[in-house]
Symmetry: C2
Subunit: 214 residues, 2 copies
């Protein structure tokens, strides 16, 4: 898997030295273990078995490292989406698979939802534009294609695909928004495979049901 990013977010494997990749992996695993975005660069360097100066060398600063993490995740998501779009399946089945993939990605990478939000909202304009281009745009374009295909085949209603895309994103992500919301609504704040599977079924039925031509 060609994950992890180097300066400039190049996709070229050769531009991603093993050390940079180790730093990205270390940051990702520490954010997951601690359920926290604010892991110190010192801790990340220690976990990666490298030194703090190499983080600046490869990523410039903390924001650069966070962007590299998101770009790695974005490449992974784009790979999944490319294969899904090319697959011999109905648009309905593709949309179901896509919704499952999104929800499972948020479950497997619990930092992702918050990190995307943080970078899109609070990072420098250049950084947030980069996250928009590397993550938001490919996902939106894949959905446009999936929806257009569904409309062309008569499976889906004619919808505003871009606005539907916001609704899909929000619906998939919201279970992960806060432990307190889950505790208030579900009486339990914890996420487990069983809950995730039920959420996949609920969101898929709701969204695909809402897209279907009636």
């Amino acid at each position: 898997m060609a994950e992890g990013g180097a300066k400039g977010g190049a996709v070229d494997q050769s531009a991603q030295p093993a050390t940079a990749q180790r730093i990205v992996d270390a940051a990702r695993s520490l954010m997951i273990e601690r359920d926290l975005l604010e892991v110190s660069i010192a801790d990340i360097s220690e976990r990666a078995g490298t030194n703090v100066a190499l983080v600046s060398y490869y990523f410039g600063n903390r924001e650069g490292l966070m962007i590299a993490i998101v770009e790695g995740d974005a490449r992974r998501a784009a790979g999944h989406l490319d294969r899904l779009l090319a697959a011999d399946m109905t648009p309905t089945a593709k949309m179901e698979r896509h919704i499952r993939g999104m929800i499972e990605a948020y479950f497997d990478r619990p930092y992702l939802n918050r990190l995307l939000h943080k970078l899109l909202r609070e990072a420098s304009p250049q950084a947030s534009a980069k996250v928009g281009a590397s993550f938001v745009r490919p996902v939106t374009e894949a959905r446009r294609a999936m929806i257009a295909d569904g409309v062309a085949r008569g499976e889906f209603r004619a919808v505003d695909a871009d606005l539907v895309s916001f609704a899909i994103d929000g619906a998939c992500a919201h279970l992960f928004s806060s432990e307190q919301s889950r505790r208030t609504v579900l009486g339990d704040g914890s996420l487990d495979h069983n809950l995730i599977d039920r959420y996949v079924v609920t969101v898929t039925d709701l969204i695909v049901g809402g897209l279907l031509a009636r």
Copy 2:
């Protein structure tokens, strides 16, 4: 309108002195004008025509003031929802009206989505539990009633109302998640009445369509 909160979040009007209400109103209008949660207590006090010490007196600290703002908004939302539930309308029409109300509330009070998230995620456990109880719970309960009614009348499919509730929340809120997302997807980051109306139609058709018995 009995908005604004006093210590303890009492609903009793007499417990909400005019000064406390002025501070809440000032904070709300400054957050809207500046599109920022981090308005200083000094600026809020100045706008309210009061002094900084009264903020501590009425709200304890900044978090207390922020909770009072959310509790005021929650009382307003609960009032709307009570009237909606009591209205002589089909569950389908109620759900449409509810979705419109949520999206318009996020548009009119642009701080609300972010403030809810911030308090639910980052505030003290007591504070986040308070936000859960005052905002998340009444909305969830109203939706449970609306959905149960729709299922009983044969308008809606049998669904997991609590998980559907997360999907609805996320779908309504996500257009407001970041200017960068809007710029990336829509080519324009700004929110206006026209976009909001289109989003209301899109989300309503998607969610209600997804709930309908087929």
